[in-house]
Subunit: 432 residues, 2 copies
């Protein structure tokens, strides 16, 4: 076989595999969105039911603010980015969700603190002393502004963003956390991750806000990088304010899926900055390192939690396989490959995607299961709950569909080999 022929065959094989995954991912996105559109809309109060059983039945009508904000964001984002989702019912449901949030998310308006969970009609049930409800609120409002052009959404987004930044960088007292003498001043990686994501969200195609938050973006990246510890051998979820390892379980706590998610946030940031050194570092420390430690050699899938010393974590669910670390890993490896062209990253994408589609999809009722035991058996049959809504799965599928499309479009056009000169390429489908 000539060298030219082999190159051609390899390229054809890659094209076919990428194409097969693009189709598979796109069809799955349609199916997943159909599930949420059919089962989750609250026609009476606006907003979304997210406590949905396997078949979509509502088993609780509480409204978790994280998930309300995320679903508004997801609907708007698809409406804006995908021709086939530019459908009035998506926009209307997103706006009804946004109005529900505007009306009910804040515990004591005009104070900006948002509830963690609300009753169906919007009365606060619980408040968390963190920034995350407010962050998903901000994402929802900014994306609503992008699709509707209505200024009040953007005013809400920017005001809330400035409040969050104030809590994180200046004065956390408004969050209501007691200052206890034995509690170490620790930084969960989620905080700079979430802020970096907001910087990307608000700055997209918006020079003014991109400029306003540029320094914040760099600060977030720097803070996330401080979580690489032990001479670059571990990403730790919690470090001290000045970037040192904390004592005990808190300090040793690892969450491989979260590190991979931080990885693609950082990679996107590094690509925008045009920083090749950071790009390579992120792939090494936030993609390959967590995957190596976090992938279960016996049963496949990513462990939920680990201990950096290899001790047993104290969280009961540490060995379970959750849907979202796997969707984040799919994004991270495909983005890593798109940026670097390193085929090892593409193969990791295939490895994770094949496990994920095989184990989490529900071919019967649609959407994905969220919670498997170590061996891969479904432990919780719910499709949505207090922490699983219309977000990680469709975000992953939408981003992968876009990245696969971009990769395919970068391949040289298909040549028209003369009949007989080349064997018919086998129908290799990495997706099977």
């Amino acid at each position: 076989m000539s060298g030219g022929l082999r190159v051609w065959q390899d390229m054809e094989k890659e094209r076919e595999t990428l194409q097969a995954w693009k189709e598979r991912v796109g069809q799955e996105l349609d199916r997943v969105m159909a599930f949420w559109m059919e089962h989750s809309h609250d026609q009476e109060h606006g907003g979304f039911f997210t406590c949905l059983g396997r078949d979509g039945r509502v088993y609780d009508d509480l409204k978790y603010v994280w998930l309300q904000g995320r679903q508004v964001w997801m609907y708007c984002h698809l409406y804006r980015k995908f021709e086939r989702f530019r459908r009035p019912e998506l926009l209307e449901s997103a706006k009804a969700g946004g109005e529900f949030l505007l009306r009910s998310a804040r515990v004591a308006p005009p104070g900006k603190k948002c509830a963690f969970v609300l009753t169906r009609d919007g009365r606060p049930v619980k408040v968390q002393r963190t920034i995350f409800s407010e962050c998903f609120y901000t994402m929802a409002m900014n994306e609503l502004w992008r699709v509707t052009g209505e200024a009040h959404y953007q005013i809400e987004a920017v005001e809330m963003m400035d409040q969050i930044v104030h809590w994180v960088r200046e004065d956390p007292s408004g969050l209501g956390r007691p200052q206890l003498p034995g509690a170490p001043a620790s930084e969960p990686m989620a905080v700079p991750m979430m802020l970096l994501n907001l910087v990307e969200q608000l700055g997209e195609s918006d020079e003014e806000l991109a400029g306003k938050y540029a320094e914040l973006g760099d600060w977030c990246a720097q803070r996330i990088l401080q979580h690489v510890q032990r001479d670059g051998q571990a990403v730790l979820e919690n470090v001290s304010e000045d970037g040192e390892e904390l004592p005990g379980c808190l300090g040793r706590h690892q969450n491989p899926g979260h590190a991979l998610e931080a990885g693609w946030f950082l990679l996107r940031h590094a690509i925008q900055k045009g920083d090749p050194e950071l790009r390579a570092y992120v792939v090494d420390k936030f993609l390959l390192l967590p995957f190596r430690s976090g992938w279960d050699p016996d049963h496949g899938g990513l462990f939920y939690f680990q201990d950096a010393d290899g001790l047993c974590p104290t969280q009961l669910e540490w060995a379970m396989k959750l849907w979202w670390p796997h969707s984040e890993a799919m994004i991270a490896f495909l983005m890593g490959y798109s940026d670097s062209g390193d085929p090892a990253l593409l193969h990791l994408f295939y490895q994770v995607a094949e496990y994920t589609f095989r184990q989490f999809r529900d071919p019967e009722y649609g959407e994905w299961f969220g919670y498997l035991n170590r061996e891969g058996r479904v432990v919780l049959t719910i499709k949505g709950g207090p922490f699983k809504g219309c977000f990680h799965v469709p975000r992953c599928l939408a981003m992968c569909e876009e990245m696969l499309g971009a990769l395919l479009s970068r391949l040289p056009p298909v040549p028209a080999p003369s009949a007989g000169s080349l064997p018919a390429a086998p129908a290799h489908r990495g997706a099977e």
Copy 2:
């Protein structure tokens, strides 16, 4: 075989089985206590390390106040009740633990609110807005008073008890929970359970305090009984203040091991009150009902959580098998049998005890594993952690040893059958 012979054989068989379990349980108690005495004592600051790995190694030095109080209680209780545990090192460690609590448990003395977790040297790390740290503090202080006779321990116990009762029955504002308009006024069963346990603790052989808290004991029992819902077909963990089922997952939440623990608290209360109707009701609703719904027909063991409608719980650990529901079930069924003589309850004790000894014991390093998956495989190898300390296992073993001893002493004395008239009884050991 004559009727008299059969009765004699059955009685001999029961005696042997009870005797075998008494020995097994007693030996296990010695082994379990040896584990804690070897690995958990903090000689520098007093109190106990409870984050212990499989082999007893300390993997974190945080001190969880529930577990500090419980271990002090356990040491004193064994010292007081068992001749073989009347050892100076137990008393000294208990007193050092008590002094640690006196010095450090309260977040802001003279306020009575206690921390949930402290640093090794006693600085508060986290505070829970519940009564449980304070309850275990009270148990520790009362039991310390019983073994030392030192009045300051009892003063502490009674003052804290009165504070807890004030929080529960008069004004919860000192606990710091926000009143949110969407949060239903719900009662977790743990609150009246814990208070009833304290009433028993403080009133033991103490006519004055027994009298002082008699009305409270009846109130607690009444409140626990309100958790029997759905025409007596389900024990629900959370009900409204006026004893109605709450909507959603919160209302449907069940914890079979907790119901069984409430069962033996109530049964002890009913025995003291001499209330035969309540005794029968408790056996039916708090022992047999939770066991029937909660015992896994496929793999054995009690599920951790269930949903009263048979829906999938949202807690990731719902199908896991935890050590403490099983130790509570052992106590409940043996107490039920001791009280009623119903052999069905004795057989349930054997069924649970055999599963428990087979699945949770660690024959290699001592103590019990705490966390198994549904199939019974050990998921967490730790012997102690934020919620597992020196309490449920030794309390169960000590109570079972005492109850088995009492049952044996109630059997008629062994007759001396003439040689040859009876076959040698087979060495039946339910324990194998």
